[in-house]
Assembly symmetry: C2
């Protein structure tokens, strides 16, 4: 299992004096060093020739998340592009473990999928893992994870898709399709391997240990159904990579192609640490998709920035965009044009743009974005249900 | 988890000098001491007042397997009878992990269920665990376990059932019904517990570890569907008890009644050791349901008995029925009347009945039984498929 390495042992692998952090599909702790993750996970940096090749293939300007290094890592992207150019079209696969209200960060993979589908016309398979959420949280019912899954789905579809090319696998509803493939995966993954990849202990429940097999299944389902090898491209947060290392390791023995991946960084929280969290305590730490204009104004006004202690100091020394949660939002999507983004970055660094003014510029853009999102969310309700696939 | 004990540690629990044996759902090794299993598993002996009470309730003579101690152990049978007498009817649940051809021993629980259904009119739920067989054998495909499951099903239904009262849960087909309940079970069972009950090691695959949750699900499904607590009685081989200890431990926290159990001994192999095995090497060690009359004659003629080395010695000392594989067949069902069974036993012990003569008497009875089985097996094909439950 060449690509696998121990998450449990991640701390041990880091050099003496390195700041400690942890990234698993269920927990992100400490200040994530994304460059170090590329080394630790053994992925490839998304830059240079491969990024240029992707740009040429997509035939036009890339979205901010691709242009500005938020999608910063990949596995086997050149292979996916080779196959595409040979006429062997890939499909997209991404997903979501249902939770309470979603925030801006949750939409990143779906926005990228929306863009790729518009440009290339490819199919998208979305997995809603209500079983996962149930298994990893003691205090939630299956009825509740199901309900949250349906609510989340409307948000996830809002970035805009071709309804004829969206296939939703809702785990407890689509299980008859997923289970046989999950069995094939599960037979090839020992507890020993799962423990090494995810850091499981004997106190983990037997469902949580099996679950990763379910998350592999959508990567193989279209190939199984079509009885030919269809390449799969998975845009996801880098925290999901451990699951797909398992998927990739079992793919070829099972006769499926290894899925390729595009990894995004996690959007930093507004309060300055870790990724945006959707746990209710941290509600102030992220912009939620159903936040009111007042919420947006309050949260962004209170957000952590890279500014200095006084105006005078900031005018003199400039601020530090790289640690600023507001700058991260400009970067991710709110400065659409590169000139605008570069202007903001430069003014920030030079001390010409104070944090208050920068926030005041961003607030209406975020408010408008949420307003448009809400409309798009309502519109997808007419077809979301019919995109759920229970049998082929 | 009060009832659970370590299968891995079974050997350690046995007294110094005790002959070692092992009983798990996937492996039976050594000479099984059934009395000792009652102590080790913590079950109750099926005898005395509870057996008399069962006889009264069933209103007539019990089948040989109940009268003669082949069903020899139980859990909570008095409670099931209490509930029944209060008007809260139980349902029966039993099952089968698909394998190649079945032998006589595999039908014991189904024959008991057939009898109980005829006498009490109760419903029967049958689980066919094609997923289990796939997960626990490396060299079989899902298509093959599915095919074997369908073939086995006809055999299992041959003892005779009311088609309106038989509900078949075929794991890969009925998974949408089973999976949500399996998730509820799985969330309450840690790897640590599963390891203790089944003796798992880190090399077990993650599907095999999860699987027990699937085997619990049918015990709860009728209660879940009816939204009231319906008692469940599970006739099964004692080797399946570990699964149902898990089921019983999670039942009440999930709001379901603990299933009661009736355990049968495993029919000894014709070659003198262990239970009848269905692995192909051991084909000579059991009477298979599709054996030809010639097969039956050859196998029984060669079978291990409790006889002596010479005729003279046997006439003088008598034979030992308790260790005889032929006597076990008379006992299980082929001597229907108790007088006949007692006659054979007594003549055997006294040296009046030689093994050759005893075998010659048994052979046509077994041949006739298999002939009738084959007819019944053909007849159930008309309705077996329609009894498979994929949704409620």
């Amino acid at each position: 299992m060449g690509e696998l390495f121990s998450m449990g042992g991640l701390r041990e692998m880091m050099a003496e004096g390195e700041e400690s952090f942890q990234v698993t599909p269920w927990k992100v702790e400490g200040k994530v060093d994304y460059d170090r993750l590329i080394e630790l996970f053994g992925t490839s940096r998304l830059e240079g020739p491969v990024l240029e090749r992707l740009t040429r293939l997509l035939g036009g300007e890339l979205p901010p998340s691709l242009r500005r290094g938020i999608y910063y890592s990949h596995r086997d992207l050149p292979w996916i592009l080779d196959e595409y150019e040979k006429g062997n079209r890939f499909f997209l696969y991404t997903g979501r473990g249902p939770s309470g209200d979603l925030h801006l960060g949750h939409l990143l993979p779906f926005e990228l999928c929306s863009f790729l589908q518009r440009r290339l016309g490819v199919d998208l398979w979305i997995q809603i893992t209500d079983d996962e959420k149930f298994l990893f949280k003691r205090d939630v019912s299956l009825e509740e994870t199901y309900r949250l899954g349906m609510e989340n789905l409307y948000d996830l579809l809002a970035p805009g898709f071709d309804p004829r090319k969206v296939h939703i696998l809702f785990d407890t509803r689509s299980i008859r399709l997923l289970y046989p493939i999950a069995l094939e995966v599960a037979r090839r993954v020992t507890f020993s391997t799962a423990r090494a990849v995810f850091g499981f202990t004997p106190e983990n429940n037997i469902g949580s240990i099996f679950y990763t097999a379910l998350q592999s299944a959508p990567a193989f389902l279209p190939s199984q159904a079509a009885k030919r090898k269809i390449p799969c491209l998975i845009p996801c947060g880098i925290d999901q990579d451990p699951h797909f290392r398992v998927t990739r390791d079992v793919a070829e023995p099972l006769g499926y192609p290894k899925p390729a991946l595009l990894h995004n960084m996690l959007i930093p929280g507004l309060l300055g640490t870790g990724k945006m969290s959707s746990s209710s305590d941290a509600r102030e730490g992220a912009i939620y998709l159903n936040d009111s204009p007042q919420d947006v104004k309050r949260k962004l006004s209170n957000a952590f920035t890279g500014g200095r202690a006084t105006v005078a100091e900031q005018r003199k020394l400039g601020a530090i965009p790289e640690i600023c949660s507001i700058w991260a939002l400009w970067r991710s999507r709110f400065a659409e044009k590169d000139e605008e983004f570069e202007g903001i970055t430069q003014q920030c660094r030079s001390g010409g743009l104070l944090c208050g003014e920068c926030k005041a510029r961003l607030i209406p853009k975020v408010q408008k974005h949420l307003e448009e999102h809400a409309k798009a969310r309502e519109a997808v309700k007419s077809w979301a249900e019919s995109a759920i696939v229970e049998q082929l």
